[in-house]
């Protein structure tokens, strides 16, 4: 039982790594997979001065957090799929709860909590030290099995 679960988690980790690699914008932001569990994907955005939104405070721009939440939510969908199909983000709603402290990376913990035949639903929380004291929170929906160039 435990071996079976470990094998599934291992498969998800490999899958998530494969899908996060070779994505130019993920690489430009330095984002990387930290961990994958049975139901969650942990994706990290390292601090970088080029991603700063307010040079007075050194806090990251909301856009970089958006990219982290979007990418990690998509990975959570891939990790939850039993059969690999292309996906496209339908919508993403982000609540910015507090500025990210400068000099520290931000981690997104994303989960795909519901999958139907056509649509996947995700939740993600971006935090630095404590997921209960989050920087941002996001919910998203993804279309499954899209053809290239036709997201709907």
């Amino acid at each position: 039982m435990t071996d079976e679960r470990d094998a599934r988690t291992e498969r998800k980790l490999k899958l998530a790594r494969a899908f996060s690699r070779n994505v130019p914008h993920n690489e430009a932001l330095g984002m990387r997979i930290v961990d994958v569990t049975e139901s969650e994907v942990f994706f990290e955005l390292p601090y970088d001065t080029k991603l700063v939104g307010n040079p007075d405070t050194g806090t990251l721009h909301g856009g970089a957090i958006t990219a982290l939440l979007d990418a990690s939510s998509g990975l959570a969908v891939f990790a939850a799929l039993t059969e690999l199909v292309p996906i496209a983000t339908l919508d993403l709603r982000i609540d910015y709860l507090k500025p990210a402290a400068p000099g520290k990376s931000v981690i997104s913990r994303a989960t795909c909590y519901k999958i139907t035949r056509n649509v996947a639903f995700t939740r993600a929380v971006a935090y630095q030290d404590d997921p209960e004291d989050a920087v941002a929170h996001a919910v998203g929906t993804f279309m499954l099995s899209t053809k290239p160039g036709n997201p709907s």
């Binding site: 690489e27 700063v52 939104g53 919508d91 993403l92 709603r93 910015y96 997201p151």
Partner: protein, 155 residues
């Protein structure tokens, strides 16, 4: 701890934004924000509208197979278009704080320049609501739309 209550807040960023706005210096607006430079944003007036453009560059790609822009870059462009609109139209410049951002992805973003604009739908004393749209070749066929709520308070 700095004592923020006793003196007006001194902000080099705010000073740069105010100076850029006074001089109609669009590049100065962008240069004040490191992440806007990283994305390759530019702003320009087209008639009465402030248009924010994200010049295409390979590091903006999210799907190399299609290829298509990363959804995060479109979200960042839309949010930036709203913020630049607020900074540009405001009589007194304050830094808007994004509270919520909701993005609808309508089409995959082709590897070309993307334009965006923000329209203020309500300006309150503390809260400003903005709608945004982003398009590429055809403005009538947006790649993404969004709406955002900003906290806009002095100090």
């Amino acid at each position: 701890m700095t004592d923020e209550a006793s003196a007006p807040p001194s902000s080099p960023l705010l000073d740069r934004l105010i100076a850029a706005k006074a001089a109609h210096d669009h590049q100065g607006l962008i240069d004040a924000v490191p992440y806007a430079r990283f994305l390759g944003l530019t702003t320009a007036m087209q008639g009465d509208e402030l248009i924010t453009t994200m010049r295409f560059a390979p590091h903006l790609i999210g799907n190399p197979t299609l290829p298509a822009l990363h959804g995060g870059t479109l979200g960042a462009l839309l949010e930036s278009a709203a913020i630049f609109q607020l900074l540009w139209r405001a009589e007194t410049i304050v830094l808007p704080k994004t509270i919520t951002l909701t993005i609808d992805y309508l089409r995959s973003g082709a590897p070309v320049d993307t334009h965006a604009r923000g329209t203020v739908t309500r300006q309150g004393r503390r809260i400003t609501n903005v709608r945004m749209e982003a398009w590429q070749a055809d403005r009538a066929a947006p790649v993404a739309t969004a709406h955002a709520i900003f906290l806009v308070m002095r100090g």
